[in-house]
């Protein structure tokens, strides 16, 4: 009997193996571990890749490869004339994942939408505090609590959001990761069993892949969602092989241990490009790296001085030395891939002689200043120290003496916000939702002075344009206002806009249909492997 059992087990294992060999498995060498699997709790892209991109859907979604919003779990929506009410008509027949830890008894409906948002909005809602210190950071950062007056279930397949003020970027906000739709039925089941925390460990969604297992710091496994509303995926299994070191990720890619990887070392890009087994995709990042003057501090309160300094910076040399070619010069505060980018704006020319004259005319001599260099690497600035040194040299050419300072990252972020801060700060921004408001209002609005507005710059004309644009529904009309705002920005020069980085994505040639996400995420819906 025992013999028979062992034989049966061996046979089963053998069948499992052969079917595993036949299954199409895409391996993605990810750069880090997710913090959890409830995207609304976190703000890191690594976490979103593993949770919202693979497992969940949102009411509206970003069309793959663009920042345009398209229907997701909502098939259509209407906005009332005053812009205060938005009614979503939900998609019929959407199934949640059926796994070994949850079997849904019903399809997706309005209850799931209400659950997903109310837990973030209302302090007394179920799952508001289901993990200690749940802070719903992105929901708050996008001002959702002030913005949403109420969310109502009109009927099973209709949900109405009422806002406190008209806000055009709201639809784009709902395409962000924090707005992922969870299963209320699953949450109820967990609550009943006293296992609320599992909502963040074993996710159930409606997305293209369903969660199978996670071994911390090692592997995340998913399989194709058989009943996915947008069609079953061409691959059977998706595996995230967590590999934090960029050079090791590259070795794994070359050895065929993974099919696709993010964030190669800039120095390795050239050799990857030459490798005939590898396809190297690239895209302009939705980001900007800048030097923000303190416009409330003398003599930087004069726009002539700021303008002169901008003309003293040799941006081409910076792109070459700091980005090793993987970047482009920035002239506007928003990246060129974003709608409303004003290409007619002319960048300040690099002209040290003219800059020196302008400084003299402004009565500025023997100027010495501080330039703050970030202690960390960021896509929009891979080496702030080096950038600061180049700027130091450029400024000394026009007679300005620069002292470079730096602080530990947390302290840097905090101190650079202070209105009486001494010196100009190197920093940058990566877009959240592809809306220009997410750059122009967040980084340069009057409300953000003393916060994310590191230039401490409040220009009424600029601010009015940006605020007005927010209340309009038509993208065309909004774009016009944003274009004007960019002209004012250039004239007033609160920043020296330095660079937009280029993002590279190396993959093996057999990977088909991968689209780079301008918002920096990594999603595998629709990706296939050639036989």
């Amino acid at each position: 009997m025992k013999m028979k059992l062992t034989f049966a087990a061996a046979l089963m294992a053998a069948t499992a193996m052969s079917s595993a060999a036949a299954a199409k498995t895409l391996v993605y060498c990810s750069e880090g571990s997710p913090e959890g699997f409830d995207p609304a709790l976190y703000t890191a892209g690594t976490t979103f890749d593993a949770s919202s991109k693979a497992v969940y859907n949102r009411l509206v979604q970003f069309e793959p490869g663009t920042t345009n919003t398209v229907p997701g779990l909502a098939e259509s929506w209407e906005v009332s004339d005053d812009g205060l009410e938005i009614t979503f008509h939900l998609r019929e027949g959407v199934q949640f994942h059926s796994t070994n830890f949850f079997t849904p008894t019903r399809e997706f409906n309005a209850d799931d939408v209400l659950f997903s948002f109310n837990r973030q909005l209302q302090e007394d809602a179920p799952f508001h505090d289901y993990v200690s210190g749940a802070s719903w950071e992105y929901f708050n950062a996008m001002s959702m609590p002030d913005l949403i007056e109420s969310i109502e279930k009109v009927d099973d397949m209709t949900v109405k959001f009422t806002l406190t003020r008209p806000e055009a970027p709201f639809i784009a906000n709902l395409a962000m990761d924090f707005a992922s739709i969870m299963s209320k039925e699953y949450a109820d089941q967990l609550a009943e069993a006293g296992n609320e925390g599992n909502l963040n460990q074993q996710p159930i969604g409606t997305g293209p892949f369903q969660f199978v297992a996670y071994q911390p710091d090692a592997v995340i496994r998913y399989q194709a969602h058989e009943n996915y509303w947008n069609g079953r995926q061409p691959i059977d299994d998706l595996v995230f092989s967590i590999t934090t070191e960029a050079s090791v990720r590259q070795q794994k890619l070359l050895a065929g241990e993974c099919h696709i990887m993010p964030y190669p070392n800039p120095a390795d890009v050239e050799s990857l490009e030459e490798n005939s087994d590898i396809t190297l995709m690239q895209q302009e990042g939705l980001n900007v790296g800048y030097l923000a003057y303190n416009t409330q501090q003398e003599p930087f309160d004069q726009k002539e001085v700021r303008k002169a300094l901008n003309m003293a910076i040799n941006k081409e040399a910076i792109i070459e030395a700091v980005f090793q070619g993987s970047g482009q010069i920035a002239k506007n505060p928003i990246p060129p891939t974003m709608w409303s980018y004003n290409d007619a704006v002319e960048d300040d020319p690099y002209d040290p002689d003219a800059a020196r004259e302008m400084l003299e005319e402004a009565g500025v001599t023997d100027l010495s200043m501080r330039v703050w260099a970030m202690p960390v690497q960021r896509p929009y600035n891979p080496n702030a120290r080096r950038m600061a040194e180049l700027i130091q040299e450029d400024f000394s050419n026009v007679g300005v003496d620069v002292e470079i300072v730096s602080y530990e990252w947390g302290e840097y972020l905090e101190r650079s916000k202070e209105e009486d801060r001494d010196g100009a700060v190197l920093l940058g921004w990566t877009g959240d939702n592809g809306d220009p408001d997410n750059f122009l209002a967040v980084l340069l609005g009057c409300d953000a002075v003393g916060g994310a507005n590191r230039a401490q710059w409040c220009n009424e004309e600029f601010n009015d344009l940006v605020q007005e644009a927010k209340t309009l529904q038509s993208q065309e009309e909004r774009a016009e206002l944003y274009e004007q705002a960019q002209v004012i920005f250039k004239e007033e020069a609160p920043w020296a806009t330095i660079a937009h980085s280029t993002v590279f994505m190396p993959m093996r040639n057999e990977v088909e249909g991968y689209k780079m996400d301008p918002l920096g995420g990594h999603a595998f819906e629709g990706v296939d492997l050639a036989e």
């Binding site: 294992a13 703000t43 530990e408």
Partner: protein, 334 residues
């Protein structure tokens, strides 16, 4: 022997309290806090910051926070990670078997190669054999681990294709962890080739991790052997006409091993504290990388809990070494 043990155990208590204070204070001395780290470039409003401070209890006086932490410790509660919201102890026990497995393999490699090499070097003192062994040991000792690991990956995984690049087992194999030790779990899984795969994934990280301990053990064995080989009783044994292998193996090595055991014990302690660099290069899901990541994220609970657990393990290893030492050398017991 029992008194010796009890005395050693009693000594652990003040050490533990000391470590808990250091661990608690250390991470708070660093500028920045977990909330600021989570907020990043986006920043956070002052009200929201205060709200979160209160939610995590960071707004209370530091002494209250410490006592609260200590109270939790006495109940076996090391707190919850600010980042993953999972209990620190759970995270530790998920990751620790990987560190333990790797360090045991590495130390085995280091001992089985290091001790014989040290003995050979001592016996052939001054010869080219001695010089080349000691020269290699010096190189190994001063090898930058990160570079060494990458070099091996590029050669053996990239060019020759003999070993996998990183990870603990091929992604083809998937079974739930039972013991957390991949070698054992792969055998238990009954899947064909799983054990072989797990073993092949251990080769490079073990070599890299063993490099420094191997060099240290070889050097220590050599110097201890040289000392013993000059003793009268060795000369007597030799003059009695005993075969050289017996003199070296039995009379000399046994006595030379005492300081070597101490060295090995200390090295085990060091390895178990998490081999940060080796774990990072080989994407090995152990506690070294876990601790470093938490320091960067200012995850207070993980850093202080992790430090305490690691200190506990090092103390335990030292205790075992002391006891072993007492067994080998009765003079120590008194």
């Amino acid at each position: 022997m029992l008194r010796f043990l009890l005395f050693r155990l009693a000594l652990l208590i003040p050490t533990f309290v000391g470590v808990s204070i250091v661990a608690f204070a250390f991470i708070r001395l660093l500028p920045g806090d977990p909330i600021m780290m989570l907020a990043g470039e986006r920043g956070i409003s002052a009200e929201r910051y205060a709200e979160l401070q209160a939610a995590y209890g960071f707004d209370r006086p530091i002494i209250v926070q410490y006592l609260d932490y200590l109270w939790g410790l006495l109940h076996g509660d090391l707190g919850t990670s600010v980042v993953t919201r999972r209990p620190v102890l759970d995270e530790f026990f998920t990751l620790f078997p990987a560190t333990l497995e790797l360090s045991l393999c590495a130390i085995t490699l280091a001992v089985f190669l290091g001790v014989p090499l040290g003995v050979i070097a001592a016996v052939k003192r001054g010869s080219w054999v001695d010089q080349s062994i000691m020269g290699t040991a010096l190189v190994g000792y001063s090898m930058p681990i990160f570079w060494w690991g990458l070099l091996l990956i590029i050669l053996f995984s990239g060019i020759l294709g003999w070993t996998p690049v990183s990870g603990r087992i091929s992604l083809l194999y998937f079974f739930p962890p039972v013991t957390g030790f991949m070698l054992i779990d792969s055998l238990l899984s009954g899947q064909d080739g799983a054990f072989r795969s797990a073993l092949s994934h251990l080769v490079l990280p073990s070599i890299v991790l063993a490099t420094i301990p191997l060099a240290v053990i070889a050097r220590q064995t050599r110097s201890a052997m040289l000392e013993v080989l000059g003793e009268d009783y060795v000369r007597t044994a030799r003059s009695k006409g005993l075969p050289p292998a017996r003199v070296i193996g039995l009379h000399a090595l046994r006595n030379a091993l005492i300081p070597v055991i101490t060295t090995i014990g200390l090295q085990i302690g060091v390895l178990m504290a998490g081999a940060i660099l080796t774990e990072t290069i080989f994407s090995w899901p152990g506690i070294g990388k876990w601790m470093v990541d938490s320091v960067f994220k200012r995850d207070y609970a993980v850093v202080q809990g992790g430090l305490l657990l690691i200190a506990g393990i090092i103390m335990l290893v030292n205790l075992i070494v002391d006891v072993l030492y007492g067994l080998v050398n009765p003079r120590i017991r008194h």
